[in-house]
Symmetry: C2
Subunit: 427 residues, 2 copies
């Protein structure tokens, strides 16, 4: 293949960036397309939603990351389809970008299991705007409660419901409880923020199902110690501006957050290939799309099995391993070497935090919980941030909160009519 071999990468998440990083020095031109101008460190997005970190601390302009790589062109654009026979991708603005090799790393969004009408009242957490929307609603609920004279309406304003008890749901519920019980009480005069109810609802039998029974039970005790009501085995049957139906019980709650399910981006549809129930493209064991040797699908929008038959989880390390694997395949093809064997996922461990002092970690043989796990979690996340500036900024924000107890990013931005439950600006 010629030096001008053109790799088009759609999506600047963990998988896409790892791929572009690992193609450094390869005889290729790279075009990286994303509909956002920034890479987002999603594992800490819940901390923006809960006023711990600022948006710019966990997001980086993608083109800045590749300023030293003249062969990498970054385009801000939304991909609307793929013409696999003509080897082009179509952008929403009408342009077509031709490729020699295409890598789709377009990720996933939240899914409402056929109830998209719940989206305006129960926002999910995938983008910076989602995080500032949740942050605004949580802060506005306390503000409106301070102004509210009717006790029933005040109670509904002070009831926060998080739907879904995976790591994101647990982290959100824990941090909202920390705010209500520890950060805010001294600042309100008419309400006692410690009377706020934080309800974490899970349809399955226990929280954090990716962890062992013991770590899951520990996390539940810790959450309850922070003041979170944990409701397991209770499916949500309705969400509206007044509250949430949990089984056949209605909980009046003005602030709902959705952390219950994900739906892959339409990469499989673009290619006309088979997808699993969550919309993830069923790819071959070298991560190519069936019938499309020059098209790879990686990360949250791909469905891949591990050697033991279980699916590769939709987490950052898996996406990064897939990006690195595809870079090796592309290099091998360009050099005429045999491609590396099938993609093998190595699970490095699972981490989740509960509030500001505890975490659980499962490294397989080693399992940790409590303060030590929390420190390891924090150091690992600072390590994985991009660049010295962000590492120091996040470390400083955390240190400040640790020492002072004061959250630094408690801003209500974007206009929202006071007294309205649902934002009219977002979505």
């Amino acid at each position: 293949m010629p030096k001008g071999h053109h790799v088009v990468v759609v999506g600047g998440g963990f998988g896409g960036l790892q791929l572009v990083n690992d193609l450094k020095g390869a005889p290729v031109r790279v075009t990286l397309i994303d509909r956002r101008n920034h890479h987002l460190f999603q594992p800490l997005l819940y901390q923006v939603a809960t006023t711990v970190l600022a948006t710019s601390e966990i997001a980086w302009p993608i083109r800045q990351l590749y300023r030293g790589r003249p062969e990498v062109t970054t385009l801000l654009g939304e991909v609307k389809g793929v013409d696999a026979s003509g080897k082009t991708v179509a952008l929403a603005n009408g342009q077509a970008i031709s490729y020699d090799t295409l890598v789709l790393a377009t990720g996933a969004t939240h899914a409402y299991f056929g109830h998209d009408e719940w989206a305006p009242v129960a926002p999910g957490l995938k983008t910076l705007e989602d995080a500032t929307t949740i942050r605004r609603r949580v802060l506005l609920a306390f503000e409106q409660a301070e102004l509210e004279n009717d006790p029933a309406r005040r109670d509904a304003l002070l009831t926060f419901t998080v739907i879904g008890a995976g790591p994101t749901g647990v982290e959100l519920a824990g941090m909202i409880a920390e705010m209500a019980h520890r950060t805010l009480p001294a600042e309100f005069r008419r309400i006692d923020t410690r009377s706020a109810r934080i309800v974490l609802v899970e349809a399955g039998p226990r929280i954090l199902p990716a962890f062992t029974d013991e770590l899951s039970a520990y996390a539940r005790r810790e959450l309850e110690g922070l003041g979170v009501e944990v409701w397991t085995g209770r499916p949500v049957t309705d969400c509206n501006a007044a509250g949430v139906m949990i089984g056949d019980e209605f909980v009046a709650s003005r602030t709902l957050v959705w952390a219950a399910g994900v739906q892959a981006s339409p990469a499989a549809e673009w290619l006309g290939i088979e997808a699993d129930r969550a919309g993830r493209a069923l790819v071959d064991e070298d991560l190519t799309a069936p019938g499309h040797r020059d098209v790879f699908v990686i990360g949250d929008t791909a469905s891949v099995k591990q050697a033991n038959g279980t699916p590769v989880p939709g987490i950052a390390p898996a996406a990064k391993q897939q990006g690195a694997f595809v870079a090796r395949v592309i290099r091998a093809r360009l050099e005429g070497r045999p491609a590396p064997g099938p993609f093998r996922y190595r699970h490095q461990g699972s981490l989740a935090t509960i509030g500001k002092r505890a975490a659980i970690i499962d490294f397989g043989r080693i399992k940790l919980k409590g303060a030590l796990a929390w420190w390891i979690w924090g150091i690992a996340h600072i390590y994985f941030l991009i660049g010295t500036r962000s590492r120091i900024a996040v470390a400083w924000s955390w240190l400040w909160i640790y020492l002072s107890g004061q959250h630094s990013a408690r801003l209500i931005t974007q206009k929202e009519i006071l007294g309205e439950g649902a934002s009219r600006l977002h979505h």
Copy 2:
């Protein structure tokens, strides 16, 4: 007056906060009402608009500032009117708040001199949302230019026009020029960002009219050295999505920023008292509203003369001095002492920066320009920020930019349809 004397302060800007700070220990209850949950350090807002600082570095939750003052109640609400005979203020949600003493410190917004239709295409800079709107438009213009194949449209995308050459206009134009000429060139592959035009338009005969001719001329040379075209004596006669009419010359420019005029909040209207042409309430020499001894008006929404007959400028130090003065008057009245004499404004100096290396300072007898002035400007602004956390965060952001040349807050947030000139989300 009883210990329960109730001071209602509307507006948590520089004047309102100084007043509440200086009432510490006085026998009063204080209610501070703002339609935002945060105090904003407006002098650095242009740095959010130009990707230098993050929103949370220059804004603080108002109620957090008074967590240690149990007699201070903070309310998030929009005031819609004043009933001076009934001594209440009306909130937009229908509630009425009664007062014994009222202080209106409601500030100003940008004014389009009867051309409000220009607002969507030429946003001003008064709020955090304004700053992120301008930031988004500036960054999107470069992104869209990178995608654009038509040369005329690309040139219009790479032309940035700042209207009004006071300190804010000069600071915006200088920082956009720094971005185009120094920060961004290495990151784009299809366009040369150094070819961008930055046009600063001023209807008056020279830029920065508050400074001496010599400092103003120096600032102009520095701006031109950064690549800014400075057009003086040229009024803007039309703004639209395609560009700006300057006198009878049309400049195709997809990004316009308005820094040309301000309009006071309607405090004078609420009280039914006289206002100047910019809508500022004409107050008595003790800053009370004529005929309303218990109502004070301070800051950008008040019109006060200095001893020499010129108006007190609409800048942060003036608002703070007025807040401090009113606190002294209220204390004197409560203690039955004679009130302090008429309000006297002490001008401490004027500062403006040009780009990232130069500034001008006029302390009256001492006048400075260049790098030394820039360092004094920076240290003074860090000193005036609220709290250790912000001082360290801003100092770190500036140090990082100084060392690396990389701006840290280059995020495009809020959804905007690519290819549309004007935001449909904002305003």
